[in-house]
Amino acid sequence: MNIWLAIALTAAGCYAVKLLGLLVPAGVLERPLVQRLAALLPVALLAALTAQQTFAEGQQLVLDAKAAGLAAAGVAFLLRAPFLLIIAAAVLVTAGVRALG
């Protein structure tokens, strides 16, 4: 039940902000500071989420095969690999390190 509540809240909230952008008159959200903040907010959230999902198990910090997988994804990005290949690199290396370890 809790999960359905979270799904409903997320769906409603995410739809509302999408619609808001299409409906509000131009100019309201166009202040430079608001735009800067909107561009930087995803950077902060994605960085924190990447770190947490790589180095945490529940509420414990861990260093396991996922770290090697994410390093591989980073290398794939630097080599300009397409989106799907970056994810595949992480999955394959993580599985490989687990199989060896």
Partner: protein, 236 residues
């Protein structure tokens, strides 16, 4: 771009661009389906997220937060803040697409990173409308189809961690984040958010550390603003 000359661009060229993006990203629904079911959500819940939320980063964030034991409201809050950027995409798109008011509630569901990127790249209103529609439709159909297949696959595999599939979610975040790290400001925000997110993880309730880490954005902007003002004072 040799095709973007003068007044227009051939409709077929726009469709090709849009299909390319829609297909490539639509396939990553597999990763979401696998991650969601692997983290303990049911197949129905997983598909509901792709159908109703339809903004990848928020979906991954919600699933991760729920798996980490976060309560539904903090989990949804993290996903919501990630979705806020879509409001700013909508603002640009409403100027470029000039949609009739009655169409906007339907178009809104497709206002995401990829449709915005394709639309912004088109030279005319006609090309923008085609680009938005084809990208949105391709992505929506594929993303939901691959979510279902990924979820079914995860149910069949059982232990998704043994296949390294728990690395798919953080790798997706990394692939979205990396192209954003263009200047020192973005890097400072990312670094501060990583430190906050990891240091606070063991001590705050699940889901809350990510929300605190989001404060890295206004903090860095504040410090940057002070530096600029100080420099202006010194110049006088």
């Amino acid at each position: 771009m040799p095709t973007a000359q003068g007044a227009g661009k051939a409709d077929s060229a726009v469709v090709r661009d849009a299909l390319g993006v829609g297909l490539a990203v639509g396939l990553s629904g597999f990763a979401f389906g696998v991650t969601s079911v692997g983290n303990g959500l049911s197949l129905l819940q997983t598909c509901a997220l792709s159908l109703l939320v339809f903004t990848g980063a928020s979906q991954f964030a919600l699933v991760g937060a729920l798996a980490g034991g976060g309560n539904p409201v903090t989990a949804a809050a993290g996903a919501f803040f990630l979705g806020v950027r879509n409001a700013f995409y909508g603002l640009r798109l409403s100027q470029l697409l000039q949609l009739p008011r009655a169409v906007r509630p339907f178009a809104a569901h497709w206002v995401i990173d990829e449709t915005t990127a394709v639309t912004l790249a088109q030279p005319t209103r006609r090309a923008r409308r085609i680009g938005f529609t084809v990208t949105g439709l391709t992505l929506y159909v594929l993303w939901n189809l691959t979510t279902l297949l990924g979820g079914l696959g995860a149910e069949a595999i059982g232990d998704t961690d043994a296949w390294g599939l728990d690395a798919a979610a953080p790798a997706t975040f990394l692939a979205l984040l990396a192209p954003m790290l263009r200047t020192a400001t973005e890097r400072a925000v990312a670094l501060l958010a990583i430190v906050l997110g990891l240091v606070l993880l063991p001590v705050l309730p699940a889901g809350v550390p990510v929300l605190v880490a989001a404060l890295a954005a206004p903090l860095v902007l504040f410090v940057e603003g002070r530096k600029i003002r100080a420099r202006e004072r010194n110049d006088r």
